[in-house]
């Protein structure tokens, strides 16, 4: 089936005039009018495509495969590689099918001697300056140039390079992307990606003709959260992954389809592993979530899975941990629980960002069976019931869903920096902003965004002002047909959180006709932690009663963002998780769990979309899948949980929250229920405004969780992008190391 968004056809029309758009020149086109379909003949077959499609898309729709380098269906059209030449009847020369709009009635041939010769010729020119270094090139085995030259190229060379091939200096793009610019075929995919999608407008082409090269002209690094995607886009080995360099060949890797858990977007990924090691993480296409991009943290934090791991159960003896058998460790937990004398809400569970849904359910059942409701999360104010409540899903979900970001025509961000909290989602906002007259407003700390925004204010006062309809942005918002309010997860953790939710939900109620209709839900909460939505879905929240109870027994499930003073002295602390990070340090007993690449588990993203994570490699050492550990603990604690297999556990999930096992779907909340949710928030008692400004919850995008904190690559990113270390120094260092 041919997928063609109206924006891509618009891009086609714009392509000729602006290959690279700048901040200033937002296109004029507004909503893409639905175009009529046209019919043409490709290789004797009739196809019907929407008007404005590129010829290459029509050929694909007809089942003809067209070789290409520069064309990419999510980027503007450049038409500079000429590999996609096809023959069109009554056209004197072969035409570049990617840059040619499909015309009604035209007769196209993709498999004639002329086309073959044209492809062979283009291939020959491309290879003229391309080094013959496939054996030492990391792209080998997944290189478009290699594949297409096998398929369409000549089998011998006529080019005898006496004066040598063109040589281009390699660029230093930072710790993630390795360059080998001799191999570049100037397709400009990377340039278009950086400018259009990632919003770093520093990458471009300098020089011309044979001397043209890709780079930034001045020396700097490619500072974007999405930079890793240019490695995938590059059809040759000019841009490869630095951390993965020379580690594996694609054909040695086992590929496991999974989901990312380092933010709450739930990007679809493919985990490539060899033996027991994760070798790399690649994106998987899912148009509703991440399209085909993933953030650099998702892609490169995997080396953190190798370091700082808890591989055996540990029991604290004095000031050190001693490794133990599972039996001893479990007994120690049971004894600790008993010796602590904890009763009822004094038994406290804290769930962190990387806890999967299965283990959350198991832990909740376990703690409930012990007679406690003290189920908390490790975020600020995680030990109070969340202000928005969890009874109605629409109060904490990204209700509009991610694809709707393309349709919004005014977006208000409250207390959030989507660039760091959901980098991939943020690129959709940029795309919409570039292609339409959509306006963005922000209440909260100023951010370094990849689109322009109106800064309304930093605190509750600004929210009140906006709600009262005062200010330029409020006016624009009023005029919008599809307005969208995105409330950051940090708002609920803020002292004025209740007041914000109250004000905004009252506002939504008042503007129901635009913000809450059968087609449009304009009130969205952007979560930033992978486990949070699931925790709310299953009711993993403290009761009002349990708040403030001094815990005597604390069970930390992947809770690493806690502060030590949130744990009362003398409490018996169990930490279950996969990394020796902040949580394990506080523990009396550590139970080694599995990381997300090592277990089959369920993750619910910020939209409420449940997705399967799959095990790519076995958990290291004696570590086990998390729900099994909780099941075992429950047994020694004398409150055996009634499930022995993942299937019976998922039955239990179905009982508590059916949405968590309806995989790959978002279940929209009905209008009535959403309205009830808003009413409940509008009825909140706001208390006195603190006036504290909303802060960005993430200060360092590259290190937000135990995996990325253990990752060497992420530490290097922090050094060069967050601390802005001088890249010239780095280059010198690298030179010294290789010398």
């Amino acid at each position: 089936m041919l997928r063609l968004s109206s924006s891509s056809s618009r891009r086609l029309l714009n392509a000729a005039s602006s290959v690279v758009r700048t901040v200033e020149s937002r296109g004029f086109a507004t909503t893409g009018a639905r175009r009529a379909d046209i019919t043409l003949t490709v290789d004797g077959k009739e196809v019907t495509v929407p008007q404005g499609s590129a010829l290459i898309q029509a050929c694909e729709a007809a089942g003809a495969s067209i070789p290409r380098f520069c064309y990419h269906d999510r980027l503007a059209i450049a038409g500079n590689c000429r590999m996609c030449l096809v023959e069109v009847q009554r056209s004197p020369k072969p035409v570049a099918s990617c840059a040619m709009p499909a015309m009604p009635g035209s007769v196209v041939f993709t498999n004639t001697p002329l086309v073959h010769e044209a492809r062979e010729g283009v291939m020959e020119f491309l290879l003229a300056n391309h080094p013959l270094d496939c054996p030492i090139c990391d792209q080998g085995g997944e290189c478009d140039l290699q594949d297409q030259s096998m398929r369409y190229g000549s089998d011998r060379t006529r080019f005898h390079e006496i004066a040598g091939k063109r040589a281009v200096e390699d660029k230093n793009l930072g710790p993630l992307v390795k360059t080998s610019m001799n191999r570049c075929i100037q397709c400009t995919r990377c340039v278009r990606f950086a400018n259009e999608v990632a919003g770093v407008e520093d990458l471009g082409t300098s020089g011309r003709g044979n001397d043209m090269q890709i780079g930034m002209y001045v020396e700097k690094t490619l500072a974007s959260e999405l930079s890793g995607n240019i490695v995938d886009l590059c059809p040759v080995g000019a841009l490869t992954s630095k951390p993965y360099a020379f580690h594996a060949r694609p054909w040695e890797l086992k590929k496991t389809e999974s989901v990312d858990v380092l933010d709450a977007v739930g990007s679809n990924i493919r985990v490539d592993s060899r033996g027991v090691q994760v070798m790399r993480v690649q994106p998987r296409v899912n148009d509703d979530v991440n399209e085909e991009w993933i953030s650099d943290k998702t892609r490169y934090a995997y080396d953190g899975l190798r370091f700082q791991r808890l591989t055996v159960p540990l029991i604290r003896q004095g000031d050190r941990f001693v490794s133990a058998t599972w039996e001893d460790a479990l007994n120690a937990v049971a004894q600790g629980l008993q010796a602590s004398g904890a009763k009822g809400d004094e038994i406290k569970a804290v769930a962190g960002a990387l806890a999967d849904t299965e283990s959350l359910v198991a832990l909740k059942d376990f703690i409930n069976r012990l007679g406690s409701d003290n189920l908390t999360t490790d975020q600020p104010r995680g030990d109070e019931p969340p202000v928005h409540g969890v009874d109605i899903r629409s109060n904490y979900l990204f209700n509009s869903t991610i694809p709707a970001l393309d349709k919004a025509d005014a977006i208000l961000l409250v207390g959030t920096n989507p660039r760091h909290e959901a980098a991939v989602l943020n690129s959709r906002i940029r795309r919409n902003w570039l292609n339409t007259q959509m306006e963005v407003g922000l209440i909260g700390e100023q951010i370094d965004a990849i689109y322009r925004y109106d800064h309304i204010g930093t605190d509750l006062k600004a929210v009140d002002q906006f709600v009262a309809g005062k200010g330029a942005f409020a006016e624009k918002f009023k005029a919008a047909k599809n307005p969208l309010i995105i409330v950051g997860s940090a708002v609920a953790e803020h002292a004025d959180g209740a007041a914000v939710f109250k004000a905004l939900s009252t506002f939504v109620q008042k503007n129901k006709d635009r913000l809450l209709t059968p087609e449009w839900n304009g009130f969205s909460v952007l979560q930033r932690e992978a486990s949070r939505t699931a925790a709310y879905d299953i009711g993993f929240v403290p009761s009002t009663k349990s708040k403030g109870v001094k815990a005597k027994f604390v069970y930390l499930l992947n809770a690493d963002n806690i502060t030590p003073d949130s744990i009362p002295e003398n409490a018996f602390v169990v930490y279950q998780g996969h990394h020796g990070d902040a949580g394990a340090e506080l523990a009396d007993v550590c139970l080694p769990g599995a990381a997300y690449t090592e277990k089959g588990s369920t993750w619910v993203n910020t939209e409420g979309r449940a997705q399967h994570g799959r095990a790519a490699v076995p958990p290291p050492g004696a570590s086990r899948e998390d729900w099994k550990i909780i099941r075992a603990v429950s047994e020694v604690a004398g409150v055996t949980l009634p499930y022995d297999s993942i299937l019976t556990l998922r039955d239990r999930m179905w009982e508590i929250a059916p949405s968590t096992v309806k995989y790959d779907e978002t279940e929209p909340t009905t209008l009535d229920i959403s309205a009830a949710g808003l009413a409940s928030m509008a009825g909140l008692s706001a208390g006195k405004a603190s006036g504290v400004p909303f802060r960005k919850p993430i200060t360092n995008f590259y290190q937000t969780d135990p995996i990325s904190r253990a990752s060497v690559t992420m530490a290097q990113c922090t050094r060069s992008f967050v601390d802005q270390a001088n890249i010239a120094d780095d280059a010198k260092l690298a030179a010294a190391q290789t010398a």
């Binding site: 390079e161 040589a167 520093d202 090269q213 001045v218």
Partner: protein, 249 residues
């Protein structure tokens, strides 16, 4: 200037005689990176301030006003030219950054333009910029000799070099569109045409002594009219109404 010298060294290296076993043509392998990547130097780095003077700023605003506001970037080339003129004939990184700031576009967009067009000099040049045309028509009319004369007369420098006193920079350029008066060179903004080695030397000497010789054909002919005298349109042109009937005169 080391970049240029390096490029030239490579050029020279590639000119070694080839074994004639195969009829083969190659282009010079140039080390292009030095030319298309900016490296900070004491004389060219972003810390050196650059700003249009009042007069140029006025002209810049006038140029910008020719374009719709969202297409301000269309003014990139004229503004770079203004900048180059103000900056002693070369476009430093500060000039590019300033133009980018003025037009509110990412600096890379300006770098792209400045590196694409060869008339933006990204290295300093001498006071008089001598561009000798060596494209086919000029070459057929003896531009090689002109180039050699210019180079040797300026103290044996090579194309791409600047004389020691900083007065002249000589480069080879492609067709300037004055082929009918070949051979020719350009000094600053003026064309000197119909050159001979002698007239070339005279022109250079005049510039060296601070004078400005008269631009145009040096052979004395009018623009590009036939140097051997007119062969057509030699008779007196008819005056107005000359052949008209009486009543229409």
């Amino acid at each position: 200037m080391s970049a240029v010298r390096l490029a030239r060294a490579c050029l020279a290296a590639s000119r070694r005689p080839l074994p004639l076993a195969r009829p083969l043509h190659t282009t010079a392998a140039r080390s292009s990176d030095a030319l298309f990547v900016h490296r900070d130097t004491p004389y060219n780095n972003p810390q050196i301030p650059f700003e249009f003077n009042a007069e140029n700023l006025k002209r810049a605003q006038e140029i910008i006003s020719h374009y719709p506001t969202q297409y301000k970037k269309a003014a990139t080339i004229p503004l770079l030219d203004l900048g180059q003129r103000q900056n002693k004939g070369w476009t430093s990184i500060s000039v590019m950054n300033y133009v980018a700031k003025l037009l509110d576009i990412p600096p890379m967009r300006v770098y792209e333009v400045a590196t694409f067009y060869t008339m933006f000099n990204r290295e300093p040049i001498g006071q008089h910029f001598v561009q000798v045309c060596t494209t086919t028509p000029c070459m057929l009319r003896g531009s090689t000799e002109i180039l050699n004369t210019v180079c040797s007369h300026l103290g044996g420098i090579h194309p791409g070099d600047t004389t020691k006193d900083g007065k002249f920079t000589v480069v080879e350029v492609e067709c300037q569109g004055a082929c009918s008066n070949a051979p020719m060179f350009v000094v600053g903004d003026d064309f000197y045409e119909d050159l001979t080695p002698e007239s070339s030397k005279k022109i250079l000497d005049a510039f060296a002594s601070g004078k400005k010789p008269k631009p145009g054909p040096q052979s004395g002919r009018q623009t590009s009219e036939n140097s051997a005298g007119l062969t057509a349109l030699t008779s007196k042109p008819p005056g107005p109404g000359e052949f008209c009937a009486e009543e229409f005169r």
